[in-house]
Symmetry: D3
Subunit: 241 residues, 6 copies
């Protein structure tokens, strides 16, 4: 993991924590470099409970979401978050945003991009961001996409987050990452999102279940907790993993 | 690759050469251990041209196939082949064969099993062997499958060969192995099958195409020739590959 | 059915009659509440024969379509139709239309939304409306989508119309509704669309075939005519249906 | 649920408890009739931990499995279990077994059959039993399958159990059953299988996750725990569920 | 069509009439050669209504089925039917049957084989015969499958019948054959099966619907009635059809 | 092929040569009429190597691409190319472009449209153009899409190009066209694209592989080189191909 550079593209403020918080913490712990682009605060689509507070406004919700996600990032050991502050539900993503994302990708030259998987039946923003991330990664690789001061990338690996209801979204795990050693960090990071207690319980249990799956298909009993990701591309290299 | 143990289960005498010869040679070169089980000589289903020789008999065809595949194995550096000498077209596989294969698997305790992928539209034997290999690997893992003198395995990785017409067979590559350094060995091994010149050309070109694909999705221009395999299970471990 | 509220979102003026006319009539007959939003009159995409009349203009075609669909609605017992009068072929659907549809959904608070299924190989408008309906239903559920004077919904059931050529569109029926008791009403309602005799015959026969299917998989011989729908979500509740 | 008759066909002794224990208890509680056919004790494929006891034999393992599953059944309120005591791993199912199962089905005349879903990547017995259950249900419906003393059935509903690793097995939930009111019974029943503590935790958490899913797609917050099933056939009837 | 040789492999006595009667009649009318192999009389699985006659026995049912299918064949202009008289529900197909079918295929040297499509959710015999037909066609092509007095074939085209409930069986039409000119013959042939009035109506309407589909995707209004088939292989040749 | 009219819609300047050059040359040779619409010069997405020349600008790259593609067209015998000169990576396609394409389609009244297949995992422009081509073909057929001076078409056949990495893009060949007689022309045409030597080798080998596939599934040994295409619609007509 040492020296590997990862870009995480998160539609809303907490998506990267629920779905990849353990993997992020693990890479950071072992010398990886991780940058997260948070495209929106999820004020409209990911803050249901916050709006139940009396007097809640878009600004007050955004402020809370911002504080929560910064606190979570800190616990994960993550110092590099880029808040785009776009609208959500729906999330508009045009050629200007593509240009901006290509700049981000080319500046980091990531080995890996993690974003939303191809389809989430319950979240139209996730679908747009998934397509946006793939599109921008391909544009970054293209030598003809000329942007002053940027350097063409080579094709990086792409991975997709688990959606909330996996089977209804056609999600198939391609990679399990053992997060046992950073599990407590992930749990603490999730707890920053105070108004979403049900999701904390949900993703705690999911880590256990994915750990069970990882154990079962590897025979390795040290895997207690895991996160899974969809593989956008085949594995390429010297060995069969 | 060093120390990794691989079992290759090949329906007919030459399947393992066309589809995995480079990967076998590479693992052997780098200290891996590879055993191949050849279930049949492919006398009925994989020896079309040999039958065109005047006076060909099942015995004469089998003899040629045996010599060819031994010669190919030698070039790949492979010393451990287990010839089952079953009938083919159709290939009968019953509980006795399952018992035998479980013994083979448990004796080797492989990290990896490579066999035919789930579906080959043009070869009914391949389909049976694919299912047989998966079934036997799972039985090997089961502590309750008691066979005197064997030791239960833990779940090994399973990979599927490319079928001849991939898209018609629903084949999706999950792993590309760079075989550039052993490419010449594979070509020489393929040339042992004298009556199948068209397949030699075919699999030579396929190695080039898979090399091109590997290059394109990794950005690594050193990948000139590759073999691809289907992944039966997700990747499990510490890193995203 | 009593007390159940249904919103039908129909891309063109007659879609709701061909594909859900029987189901609408049945719910209305048994005390359900049904509202239909007709997004366009289908002047460009669904009025081929009307344009063959001498002197036909967009206005004259629209007028006929409007009269026909109102007559059909009356026969079905349907009093609540909302005509959006959008263009069709192509149908533009932007954030303004999303806002409008969220208001419609929140005003009705439907138990069920019926609209076009995910893919129709022969009709690009249907595909856009399918995605639009799903998107808007999810936005309606989100507490953070703040629209003055509206009340957040809970997740309603979504069902998709049969497309014209089902197998080419990947359509899989998830629910069959027995429309035997309202079959005559549906036939009469279809006959309002005078210029589309071939569709009347087509959907008459389809009702028979779906009735045959319903009979076959339930063993209930009382099912003579049926309509089928795709299920966007699993069935949830106390019983296995 | 009152008066509904359900036949559960379970490959191994505990499958019906992990995957459908809550649904069975619920139907029984509300006046349903449930019969379970347990095709094998799972001595070879489902008793890994029991074989770790010193001196374990096929007979001793079978005896424990039998006691455990009878205890679990009692907790669920289930009095009608039919033990076929077949071998497992592999499970042989021939024309004689088909005849026997057709007799079972025709004797009960079930409204619903629940068995294994179409594919379980990690369990070859489950796959055979799934196909066997579907095949026998269709033969039971056929008037020409003449068996003395039996009466042809009409087509019953078929549902498939969740496999252990759902996404790798192509499983898609078609129905969620709320098991909140019988959840404690299911937990107690699972605890009868003393040597399988990890599965108890696993299926406890799965009940929570399926409850969360059921809640999310219905808006009904009373759903705390659920079981899910695959639908072999569409829903047929008067209403959209 | 002139000079083209077609082998139709029909699981039960009437399958070839419902699903391919029009296509058979058309090829015969235009100088094609058609042979039908009827593997069973369908006494158990396809004769529900005949068993309702008082005193029906396997022999009496078989006799009626035999007469009906011969009458239908005559109307279609078909003189070459080969009755295998196998059991059905279930239909046993072993290596001996493979040998027999390879002889049939090699004797005829067909350009086209039509049989059941890959999956029929409601008929286990159809699934077995589909796999059997594909398997035997591949064996016939293999030079190493030595059968005295037979001559190896070249790969023929394979097509699959429509199953009764297409979408539930994953059926996708690959070819529509216009049967307008022989439609009356097909209707008369179907009427030979006196006890199956509901199927006559069903397949009459299906011919109309497939005619409508054929018209719609070709723009050719002369197509009034059609049959559709699944394509096992891509089209190969000089032109795009 | 004589008299058949084909419209090829190519996202970038060279797509039509790599993927359909042989088929175009063959139709032209045998009296077909072929028109190609090249939507962009591929300056940003398809000209990686050209940008490596010192001093390259969008204009200089475009100029080279224009000359290369005109030279290639000439070799193929193609005189009718329509350059739209749109931007690429991303390619904007709005209602104005739909109107323009409908005019092109209606002016030519093609029997066949060939464009990009439904999904190309590595090229977002290809995906947009695929959807655009399908959409415009359907609008062209619709009598209500009134454009002064145009005449409604009847439904033409649609075929999709092979994407570069077929299996990752879900591509399934539906038609193989034997290009043996025009193979040399295609090779020469490809050589016009001087900066893309690796693609020339790649598509040369692909022609060989597709020839091998065509041979294998037809038994016709005269097929040495082939191109394959996806079928958007079933084959419709008098014969089974």
């Amino acid at each position: 993991m040492k020296g590997k550079k990862i870009l995480v593209i998160s539609a809303h403020a907490a998506d990267y924590v629920w779905r990849a918080g353990g993997t992020i913490a693990k890479y950071l712990k072992h010398g990886g470099e991780v940058k997260v682009a948070v495209l929106s605060y999820g004020v409209r689509g990911e803050s249901n409970d916050l709006w139940n507070s009396e007097g809640a406004t878009a600004e007050s919700v955004k402020e809370i979401r911002s504080q929560e996600t910064r606190a979570a990032a800190k616990i994960l050991g993550l110092s590099d978050i880029d808040f785009w502050d776009l609208d959500d539900y729906p999330m508009p993503l045009d050629a200007g945003h593509e240009d901006r994302m290509v700049r981000v990708i080319r500046a980091l030259q990531p080995d890996i991009i993690i974003s939303h998987d191809k389809f989430d039946v319950l979240n139209p923003d996730h679908n747009r961001v998934s397509d946006f991330a793939l599109r921008c990664s391909i544009m970054s690789n293209s030598n003809g996409v000329r942007i002053e001061g940027t350097k063409t990338t080579k094709q990086m690996r792409l991975f997709g987050f688990e959606p909330h209801q996996t089977e209804l979204s056609g999600y198939v795990p391609g990679s399990f990452i053992d997060i046992t050693e950073v599990y407590e960090q992930k749990v603490q990071a999730m707890k920053c999102f105070k108004a979403q207690g049900h999701l904390i319980e949900y993703y705690t249990q999911r880590a256990f279940m994915r750990g069970n799956h990882a154990q079962r298909i590897s025979g390795n009993k040290a895997y207690k907790y895991a996160e899974s990701f969809a593989n956008f591309f085949p594995v390429v290299g010297d060995e069969l993993y």
